[in-house]
């Protein structure tokens, strides 16, 4: 899935504010769903149906976070976790921050909160896909400990490759001994 940032109804110019002026909340219910859908729909070329959003937020509400600045939703992260080939794994599905609010660590904070919940829930690793050209996302996840595990040829419809990014938590069980 993708990382993006919508551009309306915010002004084009960058907003100036301090990190502590941003409030982070966990998904609280149906009233948050239109905010999330609005943010993601505006920017992503990949269309997600209402069912897709509900799949994530109903099953894993503790893995969806929203960022608010002056009462407006400026960013969101939507994730899931579950068993995948004998590994309990977290997956980051969508990450969005509005353009004027980028570069202030909001995306990093949203992702970090989700990862902390995954870690506390017993996940062994976290994974996502990102376009190879999305330097911002790659730098963000790199700082958090993700490696580029694989390159996926022409993963996106526009022909762009993707990286499968993976973060391995310390002490995760593995089928063979790694000294």
């Amino acid at each position: 899935m993708e990382d993006a940032a919508p551009s309306e109804p915010f002004p084009e110019t960058e907003l100036q504010f301090s990190p502590w002026e941003v409030e982070y909340v966990s998904y609280g219910g149906e009233h948050h769903l239109p905010l999330i859908m609005n943010l993601v729909d505006k920017e992503l070329s990949e269309p997600y149906s209402i069912f897709t959003y509900r799949y994530f937020v109903y099953l894993w509400p503790n893995l969806t976070f929203l960022a608010f600045h002056e009462g407006k939703c400026v960013g969101t992260v939507v994730c899931k976790m579950g068993e995948h080939r004998n590994t309990f794994r977290g997956y980051i599905a969508m990450l969005v921050v509005v353009k004027p609010c980028r570069g202030k660590g909001i995306a990093t904070e949203l992702v970090a909160r989700a990862i902390r919940v995954m870690m506390e829930s017993g996940c062994e690793e976290v994974t996502l896909e990102a376009e190879v050209t999305n330097k911002g996302a790659l730098a963000l996840y790199g700082r958090l400990g993700f490696i580029r595990a694989k390159r996926l040829f022409r993963y996106y419809l526009n022909g762009v490759d993707a990286f499968r990014l993976k973060l391995l938590f310390p002490g995760a069980k593995s089928p063979f001994h790694i000294p």
Partner: protein, 673 residues
């Protein structure tokens, strides 16, 4: 993710749009007239536009979109019988269909790539025709007619009487030559492309030389097509220059007879998204590259030696060839489970282990390990024909298969030796020698696969600069082991040749011995890789220790987890054994810039390169490699000198690692702020 919202045009392919509901409705409403115009000049113009748009569609299909939304968005192709009264259009549609069939067949038969999944999807499309085998004769007849029309108009222009009266192509005499030429190069491109595809599928590479000639002809016809742009645009509409660059025809006009929405229900299982057909210019560039890739594939030397085949494949992949070229190369290499359709893989192995006399031994042929190794070699060749991203994943996965073979071989060898120690016969000796040769060759191949796996990571940009130290360290370990096995294998083959009474100069020739040193040139080149990997590891480690740069710190994990993840597949396969993160840390913990300078890794490489130039004098690829390595070591030596002089922990220094000279050996770039 498969859920969709009804009436959302991005998701609902069954939604009623503004377009036609069916192909029949489109035809009824005049979307694909036959002829395209009652005016023969306009008819020819529009025909050329259809041909050009089909070329753009074909390029778009090759680049990863569905056939239904590209080539078969053409109504003339969907109802080909309608075009039978129009020889030009009919022959072009037939050759298009035959070409699509040939390409799909090749990609389906190659069958090892994920990217073929969309490529070969052709449900519900009218791809099979009764008389496709006659497509060439129809095309040739149309080409002949137009050639005569061209000769006639040239004769008239020079006021000569035309030799035969074929009637003109269209009604405007001044445009006759331009249109004839524009059509001829398009028809000839299709003809040569189809011939090339047919020749490439001939058994045992028999069609290679002829295919090369057809590919060369394709390239020259593509050049003529590009030249026809000026003529075709001068008769076109007055579109603005900027816009025309994105058009899908040479004339810049919209073609008749295409509607992608008609096939929207045939694009299951995913709802079709709107796709962009590539521009005609991009299509020409694509086909030029494809022809060059095919030419490179057809330069396959049909070498019986496995190591040369592997080297050829690595070289071929450097230009990132497209799926169609890679599929055809794979089919040239592997036919009917044999190399080039003629050499069984046990013969390939016996040559690789320098025991060709063993090839006819039935016990050898039927040996379960030999059979298994044969399968692994065949699989390895197929994998090396896939795209780099897929290839790396598969190379990592097969390491375990190769590693298991080695252990089994070893057990077999030891068991024989132990049980039969006192009853050693000539046959047992051969068996033990064979086990020894097979084991060392299998291990060498395993390390070669491991080195490709790690090196591809650089090409695919999988490593961040903070990870280069561990990657180069692991590479150093793999190269050391690869060199050891290679030298052992060569020693065995030399011993074997000596026993056969071969002369010294023949021995040297067989093993690729380097005259001054008596060591194989390939081994010396590999020794360079060992030194460079070690030098880069130590340089990065020193910078980490003295400047605290390239350090990995994250809130959720550490360098150890990154090590585990990057080398998981190698560790799982024990390639090699006893390698760990702790060993990496021990090797790099106390390194300083002064140590790196003292060991002079890069100077050693320079010394070897100087001596190797003579050996590689007739091998331009290896000479180029030596040149690149020289650039790497020169620049790194200078960088080391600067860092030592200024002081590694001087804050004014900015140090980064980049790849300006070699795809996987980095160069330290030192700047002062």
């Amino acid at each position: 993710m498969s859920a969709l919202e009804i009436m959302d045009p991005k998701m609902d392919s069954g939604m009623e749009g503004n377009g036609f509901h069916s192909i029949e409705e489109a035809i009824e409403k005049g979307a694909a007239p036959v002829p395209l115009s009652s005016d023969s000049t306009v008819d020819v113009q529009r025909c050329i536009d259809v041909m050009d748009h089909l070329l753009s569609c074909e390029a778009t299909w090759h680049k990863g979109h569905s056939l239904a939304q590209t080539v078969f968005s053409c109504i003339y192709l969907l109802r080909m019988e309608r075009t039978s009264s129009h020889p030009l259009l009919h022959s072009y549609c037939k050759i298009m269909r035959s070409t699509c069939n040939a390409v799909i067949a090749a990609v389906s038969d190659a069958r090892t790539h994920e990217e073929e999944d969309i490529f070969v999807m052709a449900h519900g499309l009218p791809l099979q025709g009764d008389r496709d085998e006659k497509c060439l004769s129809l095309l040739n007849s149309v080409e002949e007619t137009i050639s005569r029309q061209l000769r006639a108009c040239k004769a008239q222009a020079s006021r000569k009487k035309p030799s035969d009266d074929v009637g003109s192509l269209q009604t405007i005499p001044d445009l006759e030559e331009g249109f004839c030429r524009a059509l001829l190069c398009r028809l000839r491109f299709r003809k040569h492309f189809y011939h090339a595809l047919m020749c490439m599928r001939k058994h045992q590479g028999r069609g290679i030389e002829l295919a090369k000639k057809h590919v060369a002809s394709c390239l020259s016809e593509l050049a003529f097509m590009s030249k026809s742009v000026e003529f075709l645009r001068s008769n076109g509409l007055g579109s603005c220059h900027g816009e025309i660059e994105y058009r899908t025809t040479a004339s810049g006009k919209q073609p008749f007879g295409f509607d992608a929405s008609l096939n929207s229900r045939l694009s299951a299982p995913t709802p079709p998204r709107a796709i962009q057909i590539v521009s005609w210019k991009q299509a020409i560039l694509y086909f030029e590259k494809l022809m060059n890739d095919l030419d490179a594939a057809l330069s396959l030397p049909l070498d019986p030696l496995l190591e040369n085949i592997l080297q050829f494949l690595v070289q071929f992949q450097k230009s990132e060839p497209h799926l169609v070229a890679r599929a055809h190369l794979q089919l040239l290499l592997i036919q009917d489970g044999k190399l080039y359709g003629k050499d069984s893989f046990h013969a390939v192995i016996s040559r690789a282990i320098a025991l060709p006399e063993i090839t006819r031994d039935l016990a050898f042929q039927e040996n379960e390990f030999v059979v298994q190794l044969g399968q692994l070699v065949m699989n390895l060749i197929k994998i090396l024909c896939t795209n780099n991203a897929w290839q790396r994943r598969k190379l990592g996965k097969i390491l375990e298969d190769w590693g298991v073979i080695s252990i089994q071989q070893l057990e077999l060898a030891f068991r024989r030796e132990y049980d039969e120690m006192l009853k050693v016969s000539a046959e047992e000796n051969l068996y033990m020698k064979l086990s020894k040769h097979l084991l060392v060759w299998a291990e060498e191949t395993t390390y070669w696969i491991a080195s490709r796996f790690l090196l591809l990571g650089f090409q695919l940009e999988l490593y961040s600069p903070k990870e280069y130290c561990m990657v180069y360290w692991y590479l150093y370990v793999i190269f050391v082991n690869l060199l050891e096995k290679m030298q052992l294998r060569i020693t065995y083959s030399v011993d074997n040749s000596r026993r056969k009474g071969k002369k010294k100069q023949d021995l040297a020739k067989d093993a690729g011995f380097h005259p001054p040193t008596g060591v194989s040139s390939t081994c010396l080149l590999l020794q360079c890789y060992v030194y460079i990997s070690e030098g880069l590891t130590m340089m990065l480690a020193a910078l980490h220790n003295e400047r605290h740069s390239f350090q990995i710190s994250s809130p959720f994990n550490s360098e150890h987890e990154r090590f585990i993840q990057h080398f998981e597949l190698l560790q799982r396969a024990n390639v090699p054994q006893h390698i760990s993160y702790h060993l990496f840390k021990e090797s790099t913990a106390n390194v300083q810039i002064s140590n790196v300078l003292k060991h002079n890794y890069f100077k050693e490489v320079q010394r070897i390169i100087t001596s190797l130039r003579g050996s590689f004098a007739r091998d331009p690829e290896r000479l180029l490699e030596l040149h690149r390595l020289e650039q790497v070591v020169d620049h790194n030596r200078v960088a080391l000198g600067v860092i030592e002089r200024v002081g590694a922990n001087d804050v004014s220094l900015e140090i980064s690692f980049e790849f300006p000279y070699h795809p996987y050996f980095a160069v330290a770039v030192v700047k002062r702020s």
